[in-house]
Symmetry: C2
Subunit: 447 residues, 2 copies
């Protein structure tokens, strides 16, 4: 069966067409990573059928490889008994996610099934913030004692590891009480004499991660210091685990991907192939907020109904003023959000950015006011209509530049993510300012 | 002078206030990375003053650490003589960027100043595509010969390296003709006996990068196979260089950051602190395209001037239909673009996604048609006006779902980046469909 299905696209097509054929696929021929990829690309209902066709061992291997939204939905479709049986074999991070999804009674049963160390670690994780490093650090550090000779280190490695865990380029050195002292590059084992003591050749390590660190801090640490792995320590400097560049990469990608999704109000709908009902619910809030703001804009227009009745050309032209303001403002907004998220914006250069964006707004304001004014004059043959739209457009582009810088900076200061709410605040401002200016000036000059 | 300025924000504030104070900063007290960070956060004019205050050695160290747009602008502000003197000391990637920015006469002079190998490499890079791996691979691979014993490898490392280059967890093994054979994990030097031959313990390496690879392919390779470094080979399997996770990370971040910037038409204005004139120019095309599309929408509205004159409420309500369509469509569009860029969308599941988004569109269409219809009925007391806007909104949300999936898939098929042009195509469709339906239905039913 499997010889024709090594190509994921073919396999996915086949499973979408006939989910029950999952029973005939020999999943053990594939790596857990491959199976996870296929599951992520299956429609949510098909995904559940395929998930149920896997053996317990296969599920234990595949679950940690899945994207978080897919993980969540499949945990939801696994019985509590099975979760209790697979959780002890899962990495700590995935185990925490599992326990978190269960009601308190089932969660207690699953925790009971864990060993003492694991159950303590899971409970510590549950008590920590959702983006805390404790939740997603690894527990596979290769640790050695400071008072060992290098020859002892070699014996330790040879007898305990057939191969080292991924991303282990240095060994983590601790004292007898598990306090983290620094790291020993593997190459030292080759270039130094065997009787050398670890404590004499270890590298002091200032790039440690405190257990209170969040995703942003870890991402910044890996970004700034070319690390392959970093030790996680508690407030007493005791070694708790490690973060490798793999986790850091996941966090970095998640943060920029999140930014992209957030600007469309899609931060809760990241599962491409969720069920329609789930997507419907998770996108509703954003559409509701937008509806309120667009009704505010409609309210502004309604104040000028008398003017619109006299000069119907205003109704034709008004989308131009609001749309150009929205686009220009979103350019400034996007640049500012990116500068904030990359840590390139501070009180040292904010004033300069503001002045610069205002100048860009003035230049674009003049350019597009002239273009739109000229087209309007030719189209409707009314010089004063042309002057009204030109002035309204110019001022709206200035407003767009100002709020495009101010909104994200202010939202960020109050701890609100500007990628999430910036664009809706911006277009509300540019719509209302644009309609008020254009219809107001026209009422004043043309009636 | 430097003791008060170790904090970048303070230093940036001071330099923005008085650029000439750059002369008093002792830049050698800082790492090149720190200086690069500061330069990136300075306004473009100040940045140039500071750049000119650096010594040639400092510039050589700092230039490779800068973001590409900042690099480009500073190369532009360096004399050709100085470029000719620093280029031989630059990493290959940066050297290529320098030569690329020069006119052909100065470029020839700089290439002449390079050694034979470097000048060949630079010319090969110039002939390759801008996102080709040849441009940004590293030339610091640690290579060893297959017929050496491990003891010879250790001697080679001890006599040639005081420390290994960043991200060297494996040694790259070649034959006498530089053909790449595989990699040797450093730990082998410790765990195997010294007389073992390299060829007998090397790992076959299937994760090599062909010289024809582009950014997307390299990003996918590192993403899928937990690599720290990968060898770059030509079509004859000859080793050309290596890519480490650092470059891969830069590419991955660039690609997701690019996506975010592109959706606002900002892909050519990535320098937060460029001069106003530069930003004005690079954003103009996007505003011009938007102006054309919004004039098309205005053209549609103008077809219904007679109706608008009779029923001014239409002018008040029409932004609601177009705005809700635009927001709902951009949600579908964002999800589809993300699915495409993450490789989760194929002909195997595209049909399902399409049906799912259509269902989400139907559900939202019914929901918001009822809400907006009810508000309209109460606000304007006209049942038929309420029915018109409800039906127009419902159909526009369906159209938004359909084009939200189709546009990115079609653009992608034709090799056009959907993040760049998807949103402008989408809002053009939702504006025109929305205005036509609402004003058309109202003309039919209400006049």
């Amino acid at each position: 069966m499997n010889d024709k299905t090594a190509d994921p696209v073919t396999l996915i097509s086949q499973l979408v067409g006939d989910p029950s054929s999952a029973d005939q696929v020999i999943w053990d021929d594939f790596t857990p990573e491959f199976t996870a990829d296929v599951l992520e690309q299956l429609p949510a209902p098909t995904r559940e059928v395929v998930w149920l066709s896997l053996t317990t061992d296969q599920r234990t291997a595949v679950l940690p490889q899945l994207d978080t939204p897919v993980q969540d939905s499949l945990i939801f479709h696994t019985t509590n008994d099975e979760l209790a049986s697979i959780t002890p074999s899962l990495p700590l991070r995935t185990a925490t996610l599992v326990v978190e999804q269960l009601d308190s009674k089932s969660a207690a049963a699953v925790i009971d099934a864990l060993g003492l160390t694991e159950s303590e670690a899971v409970q510590r994780n549950l008590a920590s913030a959702p983006d805390s490093v404790l939740r997603w650090m690894r527990d596979d550090s290769v640790t050695i004692q400071a008072d060992w000779a290098l020859s002892e280190v070699v014996i330790h490695l040879k007898s305990n590891y057939s191969s080292l865990p991924w991303y282990t380029n240095t060994l983590l050195v601790v004292d007898e009480n598990q306090h983290y002292l620094g790291k020993l590059p593997l190459i030292m084992l080759t270039t130094r004499s065997p009787e050398t003591l670890v404590r004499d050749v270890l590298d002091n390590d200032t790039n440690v991660i405190l257990s209170s660190a969040n995703e942003a801090e870890v991402a910044a640490l890996f970004d700034d210091h070319r690390l392959i792995q970093a030790a996680v320590v508690d407030e007493d400097q005791r070694l708790l685990g490690r973060v490798t560049i793999e986790e850091a990469l996941t966090v970095i990608k998640k943060r920029s991907g999140d930014q992209f999704m957030k600007t469309a109000g899609m931060e809760h709908d990241t599962d491409l192939l969720a069920t329609p009902l789930k997507s419907y619910k998770s996108r509703g809030v954003w559409l509701a907020i937008n509806l309120v703001t667009v009704f505010m804009a409609a309210g502004v227009i309604s104040l000028f109904q008398h003017t619109l009745q006299q000069i119907v050309a205003l109704a034709v032209l008004m989308p131009i003023v609001s749309s150009m303001g929205g686009i220009a403002g979103s350019q400034t907004l996007t640049l500012t959000i990116r500068g904030l998220s990359m840590g390139q914006l501070s009180r040292g250069n904010l004033g300069w950015l503001f002045k610069k964006e205002l100048w860009v707004g003035i230049l674009h304001g003049v350019t597009w006011a002239l273009v739109v004014g000229a087209v309007t004059a030719v189209w409707f043959g009314s010089p004063m209509l042309a002057v009204s739209i030109a002035l309204a457009l110019f001022l709206n582009l200035l407003a767009a530049a100002v709020v495009g810088v101010i909104i994200p900076v202010v939202l960020d200061k109050f701890g609100i993510d500007p990628a999430l709410s910036g664009s809706v605040v911006l277009t509300t401002v540019t719509d209302i300012v644009g309609f008020t200016l254009f219809l107001g000036l026209a009422t004043w000059w043309l009636l």
